[in-house]
């Protein structure tokens, strides 16, 4: 019963929407009635377009996100562990982090043309800098005592990186990745509104251009649902036994 509790607000919202639509409370064309949206879902699923769009969007997010993590974590470790690197790089990281990823869209198109690459680039720009910052902050605050113990144990620099620093920052890294994947998902939709002709963002723009507000809602609903799914997926990582210490207090 408790598990169904989170669906209650959604059902109430749905009820209000349905009730107001049935009473013709919305001016024509402003809010699509629920049964139109349900039909829209039906046709989009049947044509296979909804699945294709979802896969396209997830594909771009996966590439942009993995690329960002792959490059940002090592850089974050370097900045976190080296005062010199921190002083040199942190201002630039903060500079780029402050620029909305959407502002890169013109460059993305000029540099990468159309299709997947510009969208992947935008996702990369949206997540890379914040993962660098989160990683460096985590690496800079690893307790000194861990390294003293490592010295006693005769660990090499390499051992300290892989057997002390990395495991010590994993809980904070999981939290950072969870935030970043959320941002990536928001951004992919924005990116798809410009340079591509597939994906959930494109579905929304295309539907708007055709004045199909029901399909706009189909796109929005799918985006929201997948957002929840991604968050649940990343939240699962916090249940791994060797990282529980970072979440249990």
């Amino acid at each position: 019963m408790r598990r169904l509790w989170p669906t209650v607000p959604g059902l109430i919202l749905l009820g209000i929407w349905w009730g107001l639509s049935a009473a013709h409370a919305f001016p024509t064309g402003t809010v699509p009635p629920p049964d139109d949206v349900v039909r829209g879902f039906g046709s989009e699923i049947q044509s296979g377009r909804l699945l294709d769009d979802t896969i396209s969007s997830l594909y771009r997010v996966a590439w942009g996100f993995v690329l960002a993590v792959w490059l940002a974590v090592p850089l974050g470790l370097l900045i976190g562990r080296s005062t010199l690197a921190r002083e040199a790089l942190l201002p630039s990281i903060n500079f780029f982090r402050s620029i909305s990823p959407i502002a890169w869209i013109p460059f993305a198109i000029v540099w990468f043309g159309v299709g997947d690459p510009p969208a992947i680039f935008i996702i990369f720009m949206a997540t890379f800098f914040q993962i660098v910052l989160a990683t460096s902050a985590a690496a800079a605050t690893v307790p000194k005592v861990y390294y003293r113990v490592a010295e006693d144990l005769g660990m090499s620099e390499r051992d300290m990186l892989f057997r002390v620093t990395l495991p010590a920052i994993v809980p904070q890294l999981i939290t950072a990745l969870r935030v970043a994947i959320g941002v990536a998902w928001v951004v992919v939709v924005a990116a798809e509104m410009i340079a591509v002709n597939s994906g959930l963002g494109y579905l929304v723009v295309d539907a708007r251009n055709g004045l199909r507000m029901d399909l706009v809602v189909v796109g929005m609903t799918t985006i929201g649902a997948i957002g929840i799914g991604l968050d649940i997926l990343f939240a699962r990582l916090t249940h791994v036994a060797s990282v529980r210490w970072g979440f249990d207090r």
Binding site: V145, R148, D152, G154, A241, S242, R244
Partner: protein, 235 residues
């Protein structure tokens, strides 16, 4: 045999002189307790003895490797009790004796039932037993303890003193034990070194009769305690 020898050692943190003109020798198998007012550089002294810091002045000689046990939080939280202790084993321990040795240390520290627990799932006393197990598993001759029991409640602390004494009885080590607890110092130490306020050096040395831990009523204990209190200006 002299395991640790400090001659005229000084240490500065920037412009602050923490330790100055400190002389100390520790013999093999001896348990030396260092007491002193807070901020007098006790932890700095241990970091010097452990080779984590280098003296600014003077000479420090150390025979062999050492292990340090910290007040709290020295265990790796991402490793289980068993894995933490395994980390302490000397390098080159063969795979066949490894498991056996880990089981030995789990038994000595009475942690067998908690071998697969993570540190955050244990009580403070249990965590310190894991630290002790990991440090002793190394089979290094020198053991440095930095207020290892001060985060524990009184009863646990008293019990841990007894356990430490019993473990050292069975597996002798050369120990430097830093504490602010005067009672602890006179119960455990073969010798108690009283450090002065910063910049600190040895203010007074007290020798205690054999047998650890000494009950509070044992001969010489109360007198030593009083002498330390006098030296620290606490009486």
């Amino acid at each position: 045999m002299t395991m640790l020898a400090l001659k005229n050692v000084g240490f500065d943190y920037g412009k602050v002189t923490v330790i100055d003109k400190l002389d100390l020798e520790v013999q093999k198998g001896e348990l030396v307790c260092c007491v002193g007012p807070s901020g007098c550089g006790k932890s700095t002294l241990l970091a010097l003895l452990g080779g984590h810091l280098q003296p600014t002045r003077g000479t420090l000689e150390r025979k062999g490797a050492s292990r340090t046990i910290y007040q709290d939080g020295g265990l790796y939280p991402w490793l289980t009790v068993r894995e933490n202790i395994a980390l302490g084993l000397p390098k080159g321990t063969s795979a066949s004796t490894r498991k056996e040795k880990i089981d030995d240390w789990l038994a000595i520290t009475t942690l067998r039932d908690f071998a697969d627990h993570y540190p955050h799932q244990l009580s403070g006393g249990m965590r310190q037993r894991v630290e002790l197990g990991r440090a002793l598993a190394a089979e290094t001759d020198i053991l440095l303890l930095d207020e290892p029991f001060s985060a524990l409640d009184y009863q646990t602390r008293t019990r841990m003193r007894r356990e430490l004494a019993a473990t050292l009885e069975a597996r002798p080590r050369t120990v430097v034990f830093v504490t602010h607890d005067i009672e602890e110092a006179v119960q455990l130490g073969d010798r108690v070194v009283v450090l002065g306020a910063r910049p600190s050096n040895v203010r007074r040395v007290l020798y205690l009769p054999p047998g650890r831990p000494r009950p509070p009523a044992a001969p010489g204990v109360a007198e030593a305690e009083q002498a330390i209190m006098d030296e620290l200006g606490l009486s």
